[in-house]
Amino acid sequence: MRDYIIRRLLMLIPILIGVSIAIFVIMQLIPGDVVSGILGIEETPELRAMWEAKLGLDKPLVEQYFSWIGKAVTGDFGESFRTGEAVFPEIMKRFKISAELALLACVIAWIIALPLGILSSLKRNSVIDRIVRVVALLGVSVPNFASATLLILFFSKAFNYYSPVKYVGLFENFGTNMEIMILPAFILGSIMAGSVMRMTRSSMLEVLRQDYIKAVRAKGAPERVTIFRHAFKNSSIPIVTLIGMQIGGLMGGTVVIEQIFSIPGLGQYTLTGISQRDFPVVQGCVLFIAFVYVIVNLLVDILYTYIDPRISYS
């Protein structure tokens, strides 16, 4: 098991190098550069040359890449071209916000999806099952920017309620922080809930058909034990896989929601970085997101071994 974890962590290295090269190339390909963004209409050839020299953009591309990666392996992700601020501390600061949003969204999704998915599988083809399935389909198919905008409109028109505009940290003021986070978390959570609900239902239906469920009932098991200890635990592998992918996806996938609710998270930072051609910011953010994604997947794979004794990596 330990060897497996070490192997997986070593695999991070080629993944991150690949991602960094891809991002570097793409950033070169998109038209416009950071200097014209900084100078705007005041651009002159002299000013441009000066800025390019200052940011190191006058050097050959290969050299640019290696000087960046040379510093990156020591943990120095450089400074933003635009603000001059160090990128890494900014990423960490914003990651905390994005992680809180993602976690909150997950909790909301699970609270909705798991009980309803189980209920739906137990009451197959009943009215409840049909309602759950339609709601799940809505959750999956309505785009989040649409439901987010509609929800903001609904709260402001119907209750004259506006969530605070300026972000407040979780530990500064819990109440205000929740006021800011709960709506976007709910939007993100409801989308996740749709697919988790569908996965829970189909996985449960599959397991409930198995002989060992009938055998457990034949032993005289209370229904609660049959459903939770045996059926749900056996059906949780595909659910855990799905949830793992969703958490990984949430790291970069909150861009739109962060933008709509003006939450200063990682997604927003990345988006700003891209629109300003701020290479160190984009590179740092994307690498960090890729890193988190791989780690979450590793955790999911480790979790499998705790659920199912048939899975082992040694």
Partner: protein, 330 residues
């Protein structure tokens, strides 16, 4: 009650689309105490669902439409079909146990054998200490001839063979000393040498514990090996019922005769394997008259017009055929 279990007029239906389709038709069975009762028939004849109905384990959309299953429990006579869910759970695994066709899939793959054996105990004796449960589980594993019981206890099902798993299933089924064991094709998925061992084991345990067994199988060899009384099912009905010597010696129904002729024998002159022509008609698509008529070598004109009744040929030997009685099913 004289018998351990009395099934009367049992009808089981399923849903095909919105239509109710009958799968089991007016079945009467008496299971005597401390006896082995065999139910034999082809796939789809209703033998398994009869066993499932006894424990209330029919999968949706199957249900008991009519009938009664009376059981002489430790606490007095009970109508199994009228029990509440809680009362039914008390019967399951304690008074009446069941083992299944596929030992490989009958144990939960993600729990140890230990935990699944303790479960069977704790559902019915919640106060039991872990040490007591362990002693009882080890004792049961020894009784079903599991080598290295301590080690087996901590194994997961995928680490054990089919024969071992079926022994464990039997150990679990008998852990609370039930009075009746429902064995639904317990040896079908096992290879022949293991089959013989499992059957011998079940016979021994039955003698030791005074447990009655309902043995459901499509294999007349298994019946001959283990049972005292036999019912032959065909298309959701009992077509012949007798004690095992009578049934094999004085076979009355053409279907049973066909089954016996289809049994392969080792040795003897080589001959073409006998098969009964045609297939079992599916539930609900039974023609008027005798359900075996289309496949019967001795089919007569009236077989297609009326259904023969299950009548006594000689005392204790029932048969549903116009060759032996003129009586028509009402």
């Amino acid at each position: 009650m004289e018998n351990l279990l009395e099934i009367r007029n049992l009808k089981i239906t399923t849903l095909r689309g919105k239509q109710s389709v009958r799968l089991l038709d007016k079945v009467d069975l008496n299971i005597a105490k401390k006896r082995s009762f065999g139910i034999v028939g082809e796939s789809g004849c209703g033998k398994s669902i009869t066993a499932n109905a006894i424990l209330g384990l029919l999968p949706y959309p199957l249900r008991v439409a009519e009938g009664s299953i009376r059981y002489d429990s430790k606490a007095g006579e009970r109508e199994l079909l009228q029990l509440s869910k809680k009362e039914l759970r008390e019967v399951r695994g304690q008074e009446i146990s069941m083992i299944f066709q596929e030992p490989m899939t009958s144990l939960d793959p993600i729990f140890t054998v230990e935990m699944q054996m303790y479960e069977a105990l704790s559902f019915h004796h919640p106060g039991l200490a872990r040490g007591e449960m362990r002693d009882r589980a080890l004792e049961m594993l020894r009784r079903v001839n599991i080598p290295r019981p301590e080690q087996t206890l901590t194994s997961y099902p995928h680490q054990l063979s089919g024969g071992q798993l079926q022994r464990i299933m039997i150990a679990i089924a008998l852990i609370n000393d039930p009075r009746l064991l429902l064995a639904d094709e317990p040896t079908t998925a096992l290879d022949v040498t293991i089959q013989a061992q499992i059957l011998r084991l079940m016979n021994d345990l039955k003698e030791q514990n005074d447990t009655s067994i309902i043995m459901i199988t499509h294999d007349l060899g298994v019946i001959a090996e283990t049972c005292e009384e036999v019912a032959v099912f065909y298309a959701g009905q009992v077509v012949e019922q007798a004690n095992v010597v009578e049934l094999f010696g004085q076979t009355a129904h053409p279907y049973t005769l066909g089954l016996l002729r289809a049994v392969t024998s080792l040795g003897g002159e080589s001959r073409k394997l006998y098969t009964i022509p045609g297939i079992v008609p599916p539930g609900g698509q039974w023609a008027q008259g005798c359900r075996f008529a289309d496949r019967c070598e001795k089919c007569m004109e009236k077989c297609r017009q009326a259904m023969p009744a299950l009548t006594e040929v000689v005392p204790g030997h029932l048969c549903r055929c116009f060759l032996h009685s003129e009586e028509v099913e009402q």
